[in-house]
């Protein structure tokens, strides 16, 4: 009898602890005015918010920055920063994000294949280094945007360079490269989403009610006897 009671207590404890397991993340965010500067084509931020239960991705600036529409001449190197800010209450995963090259434009592909790109994390760790034309093969595999906790801002340094041996005219060859940042609720890497916590809270509530009900039934029976 005692062991049954202990088991019940243990289960209750496990459910309550699970429900309370939310670790808020704190991160610095860059000043938004910088992104709206008309001359800015080298920093971009994706703000991920939640409206009516739906995730909304807002990008600043809305126009393309240099890595989304490369126009580098031979020997030229450009460096910029990509920010992704999680303003939702959930941990976000970016494994569904994609980079789409202009596959139907051979001239543009020839130019983009020549370009070299490096993506570094805020700690300077290289996430991808190589041909811009091969980035899609690595993106989602060896090169992944790391998940972000609520309130956290991801910072990535992007460097693009055109080789010295390039002899074409970028203006006549280039095309847009689409960076599609797609957040989804993080659920596979051990962090708990808000919905998960909600499920556990409801379970805990049901269990507590059941405990009280069982106690009442037992005390009534004991009273009768």
């Amino acid at each position: 009898m005692k062991s049954l009671k202990n088991a019940a207590r243990l289960l209750l404890f496990a459910l309550v602890v699970s429900a309370c397991l939310i670790i808020p993340a704190v991160a610095a965010s860059p000043a938004l005015e910088e992104f709206d500067n008309p001359d800015n084509d080298y920093i971009k931020i994706y703000l991920i918010t939640e409206r009516d239960g739906q995730g909304v991705v807002m990008e600043k600036p809305e126009r393309r920055v240099f890595w989304e529409y490369p126009l580098l001449s031979a020997g030229q190197t450009r460096t910029g920063t990509l920010y992704i800010k999680n303003e939702t209450q959930n941990s976000l995963d970016f494994s569904k994000s994609s980079i789409n090259l202009p596959y139907d434009d051979q001239q543009a592909l020839l130019y983009i294949v020549n370009l070299k790109i490096s993506v570094l994390s805020s700690s300077g760790e290289p996430l991808y280094q190589g041909s811009y034309g091969s980035i899609t093969e690595s993106f989602g595999n060896s090169f992944k945007l790391p998940p972000l906790d609520p309130g956290e801002t991801g910072e990535f340094t992007i460097t693009l360079s055109c080789p010295f041996y390039y002899t074409g005219t970028p203006e006549n060859q280039t095309a847009a490269v689409e960076w599609k940042i797609t957040p989804s609720n993080e659920d596979k890497n051990g962090l708990l989403s808000r919905k998960t916590v909600l499920v556990f809270s409801i379970c805990a509530l049901v269990v507590i009610t059941a405990v009280i009900a069982a106690g009442l039934i037992r005390s009534r029976r004991a009273g009768r006897n």
């Binding site: 009898m1 209750l12 030229q76 190197t77 450009r78 080789p163 041996y165 269990v207 037992r218 006897n225």
Partner: protein
């Protein structure tokens, strides 16, 4: 009579031919003659430990060191390359090996930027090589110089590869600078670090040309033979000023006693020795273009199994359901089962004796 005339003519022809041959030989010798140390018009500055020219001296902080102290590391291919740490190390070639009319210096550099323990900005003071007679006569190439006060005629500033030529002093001074106009804080034209790049400089008594990765980068008319500069030294990895030295690996670097054409430089870039008989450029190759990624079955709508049930993580739902089920069963058992009263069975007290 006619025989005599014939004899005289033959002798004249013979003499003329001999003179012409001698003149041709002398001329040819003058054209092809190279100072000591050159073999097949080439003197290796950095090639292999056993192929290093004895005329190339190794210095640390201005003091000559034995060649055996040169740090050889893995090169671009299976061979070895010279590693300069950026801490006072450089190679030097002396006066006699620089007395050529036209010349080419070409080789591969794996630039590493600022040396370990040095300020990052020191990378902008490093030099690939410098020819110099004195502080007024010199020619130098830098991988990435930075000076936003140096304005380009086209409007940009200096932030990238830099070449400068200086000759004379005072009013007779000739000074040429070469750099690409960069936009401050946005773009630069520096040699990328951590990559192999081919650098070649030619002087053919008509023009001065710098090639990067086989591509003509800077060119200027310069009616001047190298020997007119009367250079005293060629320093690899340093200048004649008190500056940080080069932090790079150098492979297959040589000075040639002739000025290569653009095509020959391109051959070098493609790993072909332009001095070999029948050497030609390889046919241009088209890089393979990326294909659109094939659609992943999990991306097809309807076939999706994203690990969720009703939008919730499936593992969380299963765990919650299991815990609930266990708890409900336990609650039912606790509620239905009567507490022990000692009236039945052999409970505590053991009743009937």
């Amino acid at each position: 009579m006619s025989r005599k005339i014939n004899k005289i003519n033959a002798s004249r022809v013979f003499r003329a031919a001999a003179a012409a041959t001698a003149a041709l030989l002398i001329c040819g010798f003058w054209v092809s003659a190279a100072p000591p140390g050159y073999e097949n018009r080439r003197l290796w500055l950095a090639n292999q430990p056993d192929g290093q020219s004895s005329y190339v001296k190794y210095y640390i902080d201005g003091k000559e060191q034995p060649a055996s102290k040169i740090n050889w590391v893995a090169g671009r291919d299976s061979g070895k390359a010279v590693s300069l740490s950026g801490k006072g190390e450089y190679l030097e070639l002396g006066y006699y090996q620089l007395q050529v009319h036209t010349m080419t210096i070409a080789g591969w550099f794996y630039w590493r930027g600022a040396a370990e323990g040095m300020e990052p900005e020191t990378m902008h003071s490093q030099r690939f090589f410098t020819f110099s007679r004195n502080k007024d006569v010199w020619l130098s190439v830098m991988p990435h110089s930075k000076n936003h006060n140096a304005k380009h005629k086209d409007g940009g500033v200096l932030d990238g590869v830099y070449m400068a030529f200086s000759m004379g002093s005072g009013k007779e001074k000739v000074f040429y600078e070469f750099f690409n106009p960069a936009t401050p804080g946005k773009t630069h034209y520096g040699i990328p670090t951590g990559e192999w790049h081919h650098i070649a400089l030619t002087m053919n008594a008509r023009s001065l040309c710098l090639y990067i990765d086989g591509q003509l980068w800077f060119e200027r008319m310069l009616i001047l033979g190298v020997e007119e500069m009367r250079n005293n030294r060629l320093r690899i990895g340093a200048g004649i000023w008190d500056e940080p030295t080069l932090n790079a690996v150098i492979d297959d670097l040589a000075i040639y006693s002739f000025a290569m054409s653009a095509e020959q430089v391109k051959m070098l870039y493609h790993g072909i020795d332009p001095q070999e008989k029948g050497a030609t450029l390889p046919p241009p190759t088209q890089p393979s273009l990326p294909e659109p990624p094939s659609q992943d079955p999990s991306d097809i709508v309807g076939a999706e199994d994203d690990g969720t049930i009703l939008g919730l993580p499936s593992w969380a739902v299963y765990l919650a359901a299991a815990l609930l089920a266990v708890f409900v069963v336990l609650s039912v058992i606790l509620s239905v089962r009567k507490p022990d009263t000692g009236e039945t069975g052999d409970g505590k007290g053991g009743a009937s004796q």
